[in-house]
Symmetry: C2
Subunit: 408 residues, 2 copies
Amino acid sequence: MQKYNIIVGQSGGPTAVINCSLYGVIKQGLESEEIDKVYGMVNGIEGFLRGDVVDLGEIFADPEKLELLRQTPSAFLGSCRYKLPPIDETEVYEEMFEKFGEYNIGAFLYIGGNDSMDTAGKLSAYAKRHGSDVRFLGVPKTIDNDLVGTDHTPGYGSAAKYIASTIRDISVDAGVYGQKSVTIVEIMGRHAGWLCAASALARNKNVHNPMLIYLPETPFHMDKFINSVRECLNKQNNVVVCVSEGIRDKEGRLICEYRGKAETDSFGHKKLTGAAKLLEEAVMSELPGIKCRSIEFSLIQRSSSVLASGRDKEEAEAVGRFAVKSVIAGESHQMVCMERAEGEEYKINYVLKDVADIGNKEKMIPSWWITGEGTDVTSEFIDYVKPLIEGECEIRYKDGMPEYVYRQ
Amino acid sequence: MQKYNIIVGQSGGPTAVINCSLYGVIKQGLESEEIDKVYGMVNGIEGFLRGDVVDLGEIFADPEKLELLRQTPSAFLGSCRYKLPPIDETEVYEEMFEKFGEYNIGAFLYIGGNDSMDTAGKLSAYAKRHGSDVRFLGVPKTIDNDLVGTDHTPGYGSAAKYIASTIRDISVDAGVYGQKSVTIVEIMGRHAGWLCAASALARNKNVHNPMLIYLPETPFHMDKFINSVRECLNKQNNVVVCVSEGIRDKEGRLICEYRGKAETDSFGHKKLTGAAKLLEEAVMSELPGIKCRSIEFSLIQRSSSVLASGRDKEEAEAVGRFAVKSVIAGESHQMVCMERAEGEEYKINYVLKDVADIGNKEKMIPSWWITGEGTDVTSEFIDYVKPLIEGECEIRYKDGMPEYVYRQ
């Protein structure tokens, strides 16, 4: 049998479990007799174009080192936000496919979000048009949970677990003085509020926070917000409010832009930050005498290894393994998707869907999972998200800190 | 034998392990034959004056519930920042000592920082002057590590562990795109930089961040800061800078006040926040084209239960137990202090010191532990702090989140 090599890359913003998917690809690749080497591209296709390729079998010759990859946050291979041109602009594609030939690449796996699925889709469309037999498969990843075609995305469950646990911690801390106070927490989520909505899991029979949840799916209205906070303070001294970074007013204007324009990255995404700070200032001005503070979870919500969800880690590995099995079976131009089985017990089936139906789209929280006033989520949403944060993994510590593995 | 009751309170800002000290007091109190009931004051002396007192033996009749107290962040009894008047203003003291009589209180234990030691000191001075035999003992607690007379304070090790681990997480995350970037992290510490200095533990042979550490002990100079960041960017693309919230310029003006006055609490402490944001804006203006973001650890650094230090939890319990044994032995007007034994192996001895020598003072990082430029710490500091973050405790989870115990 003629063996071939596969190459894997990581793209877009990291998650706590993107390296579990890489782990799954490496393990399955090295265990498969059809596959010789598992290569990694450093900094995604951007690095690949520079020839920055590593032999992952060699890097992880020591099995102990490979195990540490499962608890290492961020993208081990580095990431990029490089956007491929349309496939009619052939120059960069010719360069890439020549490199595929050099490395005897039979399959290309890209772990990422909707921008990455755009990349996988363009490459496989080019391959089809030019008769290349290199296969292209997308492995889903994003804390934002905004990929269509899949029940949820690996990375979401861990970020959700971090958010829910940390909101609970903040709520018990903020209530310590017994005085009236408002704590506004800003959570990632540009267009979709999945992460912010997960803060609802912080509640239990003793913790009634967050009392208000603001999502990008519902237009934000400053006066209504102040009124709602005032009402909450009448019910409870310690009010925690969770807001998505991407909340907008009914004209579609970002709240975080009320003071000035946000910067943009190379995909044209705005760098959103400051919504919570703005709301903090509004509360301090409209509700004088009330202690108010704002907190941004920033990078921590996607990089906490100790609060990663055990189930999320397992599923992230499983999508990586399933992707390798799929390319061996000859599949291309697909993304691995997760389908939740019907019934009481939580169970996921792994399937493939056409990557062209996934790239450049965004899945929002359905309106029927958001309550009337737009400041809370329904029990159906809770039933959906609850299983995703379950399970804890044992972490290996060294000198009092989680032990990681590094490329450099 | 005539049994008596003891009462315990928690005061000042919470820590991840302040409830471990409460656990130690409850366990030791209930195990001691001299002691009948262990009462808790809700919201410190402020609540006590209102008559808000609970029977902790009753609340924690279920041993399982008591065990959960050890992993519950924030102050279970609630906290306060109530400052007692001088002891010549007898009214409030008369009220308190009358209440001590009502509850048959033989000893009063106050878990807190330097403000709380001020409270314990005044109460015991009043008792001495008026011939009361109620004993008063301070149990140290503060993430700030700024209490004099003790090698370190319970609460510091856990916050240090959170800070070191999270700075490492942020560093691996921020380096993912390979582009030049500056991440500025703001860490608690009003006058003393112990917490910010602990970020140095994030480094290992692969992680060289934080590259710069700014402490309140060294005057901050904006031009020098920009130059240092520029030099760091020449060495490494991914630069993480840690700053104490309380950094000041050489005139003593807070950096976070460059834009406006900070608010103050009832002890006259300013609400400090925004130093990192201001430095972010300075970097963006002086080093155009460099990606820059700021992150504040805010309440999370003192309330994370999953990153609490195992050693810190043990020591926090031990100071609580030692305090109970000490009041039984007749001690008063003292604080439990930790002395580090000489020699290679880390070992702590618990001793008592006069509370009057501790209250209202602040211990800074000695200048010989800060390097010449004022942007780093020495290996002697690392040797000091390293043992404090060691050890992990098993956490009990429920529904995917750490399980806590609540007063209400």
